[in-house]
Subunit: 292 residues, 6 copies
């Protein structure tokens, strides 16, 4: 993993190299039969362009793909991570060994088309929230094996990460409440047992439960499928008690309704769709070979 | 990997267990903080249901998830792999250790919602081709790390797999033709070098090129972005020369046009969208705990 | 990983099985030359006892060791995770294949002697804090490769986990402050970029810096090597501003001084020594073979 | 693994790179949230110094840590492996990408503080034996996952390695003797079955057993918890029979008694404490950033 | 994996780096005890020569071995992949760190002696077929863990690869025929279910079965242990039906008989012996050290 | 790895499960296309027989193959590890899920045919030495990735293991002697630096060098390509100096000459050919399916 390869800010996952290796292994297997038709010392150049507008995301994955392939195909970026790209915009140039370029093309683009898509989806929702003080969150509804990559793309797109996994945040749901006896008991146990600063969130289904979560000292309350007026009442209740927790709206939220929800005063809106759905961005690689 | 866990036919990928392990690792990490609120010996039951119609796919991935977690949560299926499911249909029951059930829920559903989606997408396209003799193919435009899982889902959905990766099929494109000097030379080299029975396909951009591919002895020709009339001419040309190769239509094909394309007489239609896009299926897990 | 194997509460790390496999591989290598002197079907029993008082920790690691070895050596525990054990107390019995028991003995005890030691160290410090409202934290100063295992042992011992790694908490130090321009700018950037609920902590070296951290909205301030009176002033300052953040005392803290530090009113005391130092607990395995 | 990075002699473990990768993965996870506050192209310098006297050990682990992180942070050593360092002595300078330096700091120091500690412990015991002709041995009581790293540190510290694991030496204990019928039978079977030159050691609990081990042709006898006079008698017995084996003293040996034990004439003294206990060395990294 | 390291054409397996890493790990383990006798900065040169005639194969494996070892030992080839080498011919020179050269020698030569042997065996059989139009095939009877490396060597030697594994070709045998009910049903099911272009082969034991395989539309028929006259009849039968499939002769074929078999007109002859047997080529490494 | 699965004595390698997993992965890949023609719940039985005489070796590898495949195909052995088998002798029966049996067949047999071959080769050489007091040794000339498996087979065949790798024995050759200055210096350094009991061997090319090795206290001397009379003189020289080391004959030794060499009185004869060459044993699996 090359930390310096990224020109923009978000933290790069430690498992990047491992994800790229797995993707190359599943594609290349016992060898690229078609690239073997190209003389092994042949060199060339190629340019990758967008075929539709998107948000650029995934640069370190592309760079790592060609680094692992060896053979001396090097990547030069003309875009920056997180930049809004128009259709037909050049993103990067590849230069070097022709076999390596052909062998790595699909793996590199498969990462790029997915991560641009996730970042662009996050950005579209986040843009709706601009100026509202409400933030967009992702969820644990992600593509298996690409959790950290997609969470990275959400950050690139201007969204914020909810917990990465089961290990870095507590989310108390109905079953945990039943097992503990009450919201109060569950929050108290969670506060007692979890690491310092680990946020304790409670999923609530009524104002009654919200009140108990506030009094129990929870850090966040997730309003599960509340109506708009229910959300407003929840926000008011929280304010009347000193606004000691943050409120997250969750459940079947789409582009059309997100701004209205933000207007209720909730602190966060979480949207599973930005990571569980993928509408891959259309990209194209154009080659220029040297003669001979 | 348990071969017997699948009640329907397609071959199960050897890397299934590895993919499940990676998905569990990224979600559970240093431990499920919230499940730790549940007494470790508590048991329970849960049912997973669909919330929208889909095609059932991913059963061995779900079973493997709970097997790896240990703790004795067992899975009983009421659906069969490849079955069309309606909304609100129960798919499987979980029974056993409550912690294991809660910890594994999201990983299991993340696989299931993606693989059902891919299988359903494949099935939707394949259904359009019913009775035409033309077959639906997937591509190498897949989610990095899930190539074999998605190819499996395409088979469950009634589609057919194009090559799995760069290692099990030759696809000669413009660059390879330039390097070899001509389609004829490229096909000849490919036939000479590749394994027995490895299909040699040529991407052609004109009838002229198609004619050369036929004469060179290619097994398949991919008509890249041909018009409907161009496809018809291609099919006729191939027939006039003894139909020694198969014809694949490719390039930006959508649901609305696929039947019309099939009517041109092409043998295969390949659609990148069934694997590169994912519209995750809505699923829900409902728990029933034992008292105490 | 068997979730049900633990009779006490803390969450079990997902990489447990991988850590056990690595430990077995490094010890067994090309085969246990001495165990090969035992007839392969011979069975026996053994008991593991403590040779000094400790806190029981590591049960799932022991169980997993013999599970991976196969051969049918099963583990029966008479202790429970987190229990205070006296000297010469039986912890578990092994029963089954003699070769497997002999081959697994050292690996199992190496985990147990280390994790008991870490849990006991955490417990000793935590006991000093009993009744003070101040909590014991661990740090990232851990044994390479055993981060999650040691963090688990700290929880078993009654301590609390500071962040697991660089990914689940922000800790702003001098360099980050310099890069951002000020504490205020650094906290603001961290809040803006990090995931929801991710705690933002600032290491401060003066009351001046503490004031800035409070005003910037940090969640925790780490008082780095403050005097006792400095800590008291810090606690008072925080209280005067509405106690919006938690205060952590850090830096060279030992058993002799911890209670005095807690009396200053700080919320947390972090001690690197509980995980970076290891004083392995003395354990002994006694075998009883069946005749013949 | 870079063999050339070590300026001193001991052989470097083949799993070094794997251990470093595991340590980075557990610390960095989904990304270093705090380093993300630093501009990605910022560069700087830092110096690591000792805060207490120690023996320098672990240089290849530190170098490998920053190599794997990429980003161009390079390590320049002013110490040499195995050198005795005083307090406040500079060990190495880091130069290059600031993010990489901050992200790798803790992992590098966690290796260094542990391996220096193990090497220093070995050195302290070995120094006691100086001039006696008796050698210090380590045991298999090591930190799980770091067997080869700790055995390397023992060599750096002037100790000698007992067998690495169960695969490269035979150590016949009570159970093996019972299974074989006698020490004679067990040694004979071991000699017959094990590889050429594989040392066959017998743990004996009496002079009677020692005599049998000598006559059986064992290579080493371990005197288990013998008194000083018992050890002297054992050494004399061995001498009277032509000194065909080496004698190892073992069992609860501490600094205070080791010289006295060596004076009995035993060939080796093995001490579990040098690897099972760890008293991490205090180290400190000081940064100097470039302005802007 | 460095694609550019190969001066000849066949596609390089993606798991090359992994195979080299495994081989180094099993040989180097906790460290090369003997190389530790060499000063760590000492440099030198060495030459590897053949001691018997062979076919050069395995260059990328050798290069990767020394790349992974680090230390700056570089490889310069005077041979090319696939070249026929005479006895005592220099293959490559090593230059650089002496420890790295000594540590890597055996691993590099173990790959080279095996892959040259496999390539040479393939070449010997393939030479017998020169001018016949019949091609040599390998099988799945390979050394466990080296499937892709051996298949690569077969290509280097002028043979052709039968399917790589169970995933890229269908081979219907007696059991599958019984399960499907008939050859016709089995071929039809295979065609229906497998990926596009996946060759469907049927193992037949009589002309009757061959006829059914032809009519069912199989791509290849494997004549299992047919007599020469049986093969001739099979070829004639196939010709009389338009030669719609290819015929493979298989079963206990040796050098002495292969040309005669080719003369029957079969398209392929598969020989398990070229990969399941290994007659390692004799190679030798000669060192020249710099003085001092 | 199941230790209990072996009915005979040699120690089983810890990486057995990993080697089996790698072999299954390379063969099964994205799924067994042909087994998918068999109904998933179909069961059956099969018997594996020898087709030529051999020595049975590899039982735990076969058992592990079907264990990993799941699906309930169980293995029952009628042979024992290390037993001499005649042609057409049944070795084991498989019973259970038909798909699992078909999918695992080739991987299981690839291990078995190789390990039987290695064990049989070792046995053939070892038999020549019967009654001579001289022992057969293997070398580090092994198949990459199968070092421990082949060393295990040598033990099963009645041979003895030379060092497993570079980590468990010192073998001083010409280059090390030059670097150290003399045999005496090299042996002294090796004795000083290596672990206790690690055998120090010197490769000698003259009686002069042998004398120096004896005087230096080496444990073994390897006579490199000595004549028979040279070997006799070496043995006599060693005897005249108290036979303090063992003598190993090495270099191009074949079946025809081994007994004569043993008669010179050398202690060991090492033969690279038993592991670097493989003449796979001919095995056959016969299936019996249940009707329907």
């Amino acid at each position: 993993m090359s930390l310096a390869a990224v020109s923009s800010a978000p933290a790069i996952p430690a498992d990047l190299a491992q994800q790229v290796a797995a993707a190359l292994a599943e594609d290349v297997g016992s060898g690229d039969l078609t690239a073997a038709l190209i003389p092994p010392t042949k060199t060339g150049r190629a340019t990758v362009i967008t075929r539709e507008p998107t948000l650029v995301c995934g640069m370190p994955y592309v760079t790592e793909t060609f680094r692992q392939l060896g053979g001396g195909a090097t990547v030069s970026w003309s875009a920056t991570e997180g930049e809004a790209a128009v259709a037909n915009q050049p993103l990067f140039r590849l230069e070097g060994n022709a076999r390596a370029m052909l062998t790595g093309e699909r793996t590199a683009l498969n990462f790029l088309q997915l991560l641009c898509a996730t970042a662009a989806a996050a950005h579209a929702y986040a843009a709706e929230l601009e100026g509202t003080g409400c933030r967009l969150l992702d969820t644990r509804k992600t593509i298996p094996g690409l959790r950290t990559a997609q969470k990275y793309a959400v950050r690139v797109g201007g969204g914020h990460n909810h917990r990465i996994g089961l290990f870095d945040g507590v989310l108390i749901k109905e079953n945990h409440i039943m097992a503990a006896g009450s919201i109060t008991a569950a929050v108290s146990a969670a506060k007692h047992r979890s690491g310092v600063g680990v946020p304790v969130e409670v999923e609530v289904e009524s104002l009654e439960q919200l009140r108990e979560a506030i009094d129990a000292g929870a850090d966040i309350a997730m309003l599960d499928n509340f109506s708009l007026s229910g959300m407003r009442e929840g926000v008011a209740l929280n304010a009347s008690r000193g606004k000691t927790l943050k409120i997250e709206a969750s459940g079947g939220i789409e582009m059309g309704s997100i701004r209205e929800i933000a207007a209720t005063g909730v602190d966060f809106i979480s949207v599973g769709g930005i990571t569980k759905h993928v509408r891959a961005v259309d990209l194209s690689m154009r080659f220029e070979w040297e003669a001979g």
